[in-house]
């Protein structure tokens, strides 16, 4: 190593050094391949699920499947259900949107504010408690949430309703939103808060107009994740909204939802119904995909910090 300056890069390199270089290059390539493979497997699983669901359910995906509510099956002379009969899942799509909409209405403001509290003010014991409870709540099995809301709302009001379902989903969504918002807001550099304070901007205005916009894309991702998670929940809905064969816009009435419909149809003995369950599954996945894609496009280019 004594004559580094004058030495040409390849001159005087011992075979031993050359061999080590080759090994290093091979290991590097192998590792890069491994990482790429892992990513590929991750994406492939999603594509496989999508493809499989589509293959299983494509026969059910007729225009009527989207535009009609559930109908009784028609049977032929031999007592077999006729393909294409049985109506559609419009009431489930609309019901899911209603329940998710109500749940978002409850949980987004609550989660956002709680997250802002934890990130901007949360120092003492109370904040620790909130954080701890939120973490524990994320881990509560959703069926327990369902039972809880069932006994608290369904029993006391005497009927199943979209409100009860929205409440159950909110219990799942609020802690997710709270913790994501907190983590994302913490990523916003303190220098920005100080810059704002130094201009004589009050703290609340700093949070609303400087901190939150700087973290917009992350906050929205957190909300989308929570909505997507709640959108696929079945157990809490089973005990709260019950299901409905017809379109229902009244939040005080039993309502249908895609996961419920999938569960119901998938356990029926008729091939036509099972196919419809696959079709509904495909719709559910697409609804969530399109939803997250739209929010991603809407928040494109906005970065944290």
């Amino acid at each position: 190593m004594e004559q580094v300056g004058s030495r040409a890069l390849d001159a005087g390199v011992s075979p031993r050094e050359r061999a080590r270089f080759a090994v290093r290059r091979t290991v590097n390539l192998a590792m890069a391949g491994l990482v790429g493979l892992a990513a590929l497997i991750g994406v492939a699983v999603l594509l496989f699920i999508l493809g499989y669901v589509l293959v299983q359910g494509w026969q059910a995906l007729s225009p009527a499947f989207f535009s009609q509510s559930a109908q009784p099956l028609d049977f032929d002379a031999k007592g077999q259900p006729i393909a294409g009969s049985g109506g559609g899942v419009l009431m489930s799509i609309l019901g899911s949107l209603l329940i998710l909409g109500l749940a978002a209405l409850i949980s987004i403001p609550l989660g956002l504010l709680a997250g802002m509290y934890l990130s901007e003010f949360g120092r003492g014991k109370f904040a620790f408690l909130v954080r701890y409870v939120a973490d524990v709540m994320t881990g509560i099995p959703s069926i327990v949430t369902g039972v809880f809301v069932w006994s608290l709302v369904v029993i006391t009001t005497g009927h199943f309703s979209a409100w009860a379902g929205a409440l159950a989903l909110s219990i799942i969504m609020v802690p997710i939103i709270t913790r994501t918002v907190e983590e994302i807001l913490r990523l916003v550099p303190n220098a920005l808060r100080e810059a704002s304070y130094a201009l004589g901007v009050p703290q609340w205005r700093t949070i609303v107009s400087v901190v939150l916009p700087s973290a917009a894309s992350g906050v929205i991702t957190g909300i989308v994740l929570a909505v997507a998670r709640a959108g696929g929940e079945t157990a809490p809905l089973l005990l709260t909204v019950l299901g409905n064969e017809a379109i229902n816009w009244n939040p005080n009435q039993p309502t249908d939802a895609l996961p419920l419909r999938i569960y119901d149809y998938a356990t029926q003995p008729y091939a036509v119904r099972i196919e419809q369950a696959w079709g509904a599954s495909f719709i559910l996945i697409m609804v969530i995909l399109v939803f997250s894609l739209l929010t991603r496009i809407a928040t494109k280019g906005k970065k944290v910090g």
Partner: protein, 283 residues
């Protein structure tokens, strides 16, 4: 809330039509009396007494950890938003009025005493002109388009940045170079029309040419504002300031060792420790 304790600059209230009159309010004097700054029970700066002359540049110098940044943050009540249970004792007078009086609103104080930070920190979600207007807009001030355009142009002119950015006012502030970003931050501070501008090592993240530009800018700004600058660059203090305060935190909390006209501090310091530091014997 009663804010009579801190005098309003004539053009401070966004509801009045003061913003299009470019008359500077002029710098105000400041006086620090028996100031002590704590983090929890830890005393970081002890018993500072010092007078800051209006329309002059006062430099705070000293080795790292001597409390000069803590001190300057006490001058516009930014110390109390620092993490670590911050606390201040003593008085800081702006034009004779104590900014730590019980009914002095820290938010109002910071509108009168602006601050420029070590690392340029333009708001990344805002354009260049939005950055300049941020202080007014976020204080719920309403501006007509012409008023806004005037303030943007005037502030950027005063920050010596106008010619470089006049064709891209709509672009993100983050697209500028480090030196330009720092001048944008100065323009943003000027736009709210403060009486004093505090600068916490404003050039330490900049290259020599950008540093020179900021120093020239400081020289121009002191006609309209009182300026306090923290620097660990002694050449900068001797070039850019009228008064110099030397701080040290040896054997205890940070304290003021010597304060006087810059020329005197750099040529005939009365304290041995000042001389040692200035001649590079330690620090």
């Amino acid at each position: 809330m009663d804010n009579t304790q801190v005098k309003e600059a004539p053009t401070q209230d966004p509801s009045t039509e003061g913003y299009n009159t470019p008359v500077a309010t002029g710098g105000k004097s400041m006086e620090i009396r028996n100031l002590k700054a704590y983090y929890g029970s830890y005393l970081a700066v002890s018993d500072v007494n010092m007078e800051i002359q209006p329309n002059k540049v006062t430099a705070l110098i000293g080795p790292s950890g001597c409390g000069k940044s803590t001190l300057i943050r006490c001058l516009n009540r930014m110390h109390e938003v620092t993490p670590g249970a911050p606390r201040v004792e003593g008085e800081v007078l702006l034009d004779g009025q104590n900014i730590y009086a019980p009914n002095a609103d820290p938010v109002k104080v910071r509108r009168l005493i602006g601050m420029v930070f070590q690392k340029p920190n333009p708001f990344p979600t805002m354009s260049i002109s939005e950055n300049v207007l941020a202080g007014i807009k976020l204080n719920s001030g309403r501006l007509s388009h012409t008023q806004a355009a005037e303030i943007v142009e005037q502030s950027l002119h005063r920050a010596a940045l106008w010619d470089e950015v006049k064709d891209k006012l709509g672009k993100s502030g983050a697209s500028l170079s480090g030196g330009q970003q720092q001048r944008l931050c100065i323009a943003r501070t000027i736009a709210v029309n403060p009486e004093v501008i505090l600068m916490d090592e404003p050039c330490s993240a900049l290259d020599p040419i950008a540093t020179l530009k900021i120093e020239e800018l400081i020289e121009e700004l002191k006609a309209q504002y009182t300026i306090v600058i923290v620097t660990h660059n002694m050449q900068q203090a001797s070039r850019a300031s009228d008064f110099t305060a030397f701080m040290l935190a040896q054997d205890g909390p940070g304290h003021l060792v010597e304060f006087g006209p810059t020329q005197q501090i750099f040529t005939r310091p009365t304290q041995k420790r000042t001389e040692d530091y200035i001649t590079g014997r330690f620090g």
